[in-house]
Symmetry: C2
Subunit: 263 residues, 2 copies
């Protein structure tokens, strides 16, 4: 029997499952282990030091479980901790960054919106990327304060969620954006509500597909890809409530296992 | 002083410099070493065994020179040798494959053309990719017999080159293609001539940018990227005539070194 060598994925909660879906679609033969650190969600308001500590804890759990590559499916953890993770552990790490570049290349109104957590927008990595790519383009950045906890509670269609989104998107709409970049892996679950607010002329961009493509390229380059003949296993562990996780992943219930785990 | 840790690139000759240009543009801070195995060009008609032997020779030379990652900037070497290279050496390898997928996703006429070498079109890796992605799409594949030697001789605008291209592209034009995939890293140098033959309604796709993006993702994931403060060096070694190499790279002459080397 071949060794079980899954792709490890972690997030501050359930949001990174939007990334998992893309990885699973592009790499159907690969097994995965997903850690939802819901107990400590949201990461967005925590100090860089605390985010690094939590990211190391999650990484070590995934390495213990035999993961061959780690996907940091959390923008806040990527911007604050990934360079330290890469220096500390020998496996490859894939991070998620707001897809500013494709938006900046495509905008016609020269105005793009970025909705992200405080931890992402205030990080060094974010400012560098934004400055580098948005030459001549104005980007309206808004902190999505309070959205992650609402998604963690499964309140995707809640009145409070809609009210907050309207408030955050309003300055972007006034600035005539035509691209909206979602800079938090939780936010793709809000796309149906966001679409109703911003209308059809604003294109919403998230980074899930790019993360999946990068994961594929890295696995291939290092000869770590699994042969297609193997049946993939998908294990989800949450240190919080598993109800929302099960709800968000109900379309996949035949092929995944969701369990509670203290980590 | 920091260690010199370049990106290694090899090709059966000068064609892979089209890939080098994309890498250099996306990763300007990275040093590179390029091996042009012009003495053994073209690879396209050689046996798989011979292509593997040459690819190993090139790889070992680049590793001796301290390269941290190897880009196989030759479609024929990728399809025939990259899986063995990945099993044999511990550095990451990036390969180049014909960009069938983007063409298959975008075609409106449902017909795409693929111009590549015999070695690429007849390989297992190619048939798998083509079958997988071209579901419902017809792909007209033609071997570009004789084109690589003409490019190696710098005869980009030659009457013979034009005549061969007309002959190879004719069945594609009859099949009403709207996308033409260049499946050999030499061929981007023929784009001006090809454009005159196929006209404006055919979009030409090569894989250079995708290779550069993959290289970037892999370097990042393994913490192998060079910090932007370092001035990049670019060394080109050819075991054949360096005249054409110098001609193709004349726009870069201020920042590159081209030398003859027996390898």
């Amino acid at each position: 029997m071949k060794q079980f060598k899954p792709i490890g994925i972690f997030d501050s909660g359930v949001g990174g499952t939007s990334i998992w879906q893309e990885i699973q679609q592009l790499l159907p033969q690969e097994s995965t282990i997903y850690l939802a650190d819901s107990k400590n969600a949201p990461y967005g308001n925590k100090s860089a030091q605390e985010i690094i500590r939590l990211s190391k804890k999650n990484t070590e759990k995934l390495l213990e479980m035999g993961c061959k590559i780690i996907v940091v499916a959390c923008n806040t953890a990527t911007t604050n901790a990934i360079s330290i993770l890469r220096k500390t552990y020998s496996v490859p790490f894939i991070g998620i960054e707001p897809a500013i570049k494709p938006a900046a290349l495509k905008t016609k109104t020269k105005n793009i919106g970025v909705l992200a957590t405080k931890g992402t927008l205030s990080s060094n990595l974010f400012s560098k990327t934004a400055e580098f790519f948005s030459n001549g383009i104005k980007s309206i950045e808004v902190v999505g304060e309070g959205l992650v906890p609402l998604i963690e509670e499964g309140r995707l269609n809640d009145l409070k969620t809609k009210k907050l989104l309207k408030q955050y998107l309003s300055p972007m709409m006034k600035a005539n954006i035509d691209y909206l970049v979602l800079g938090c892996s939780h936010y793709p679950y809000l796309i149906p509500v966001i679409k109703k607010i911003v209308g059809n002329h604003v294109t919403i961009i998230d980074s899930g597909e790019a993360v999946a493509r990068q994961t594929k390229a890295v696995l291939k380059s290092l000869n770590l890809a699994t042969t297609p003949s193997i049946v993939a296993k998908h294990l989800f562990y949450s240190n919080g409530n598993t109800v929302i996780l099960k709800e968000l992943l109900k379309d996949y219930k035949e092929k995944i296992d969701i369990e509670k785990l203290d980590f």
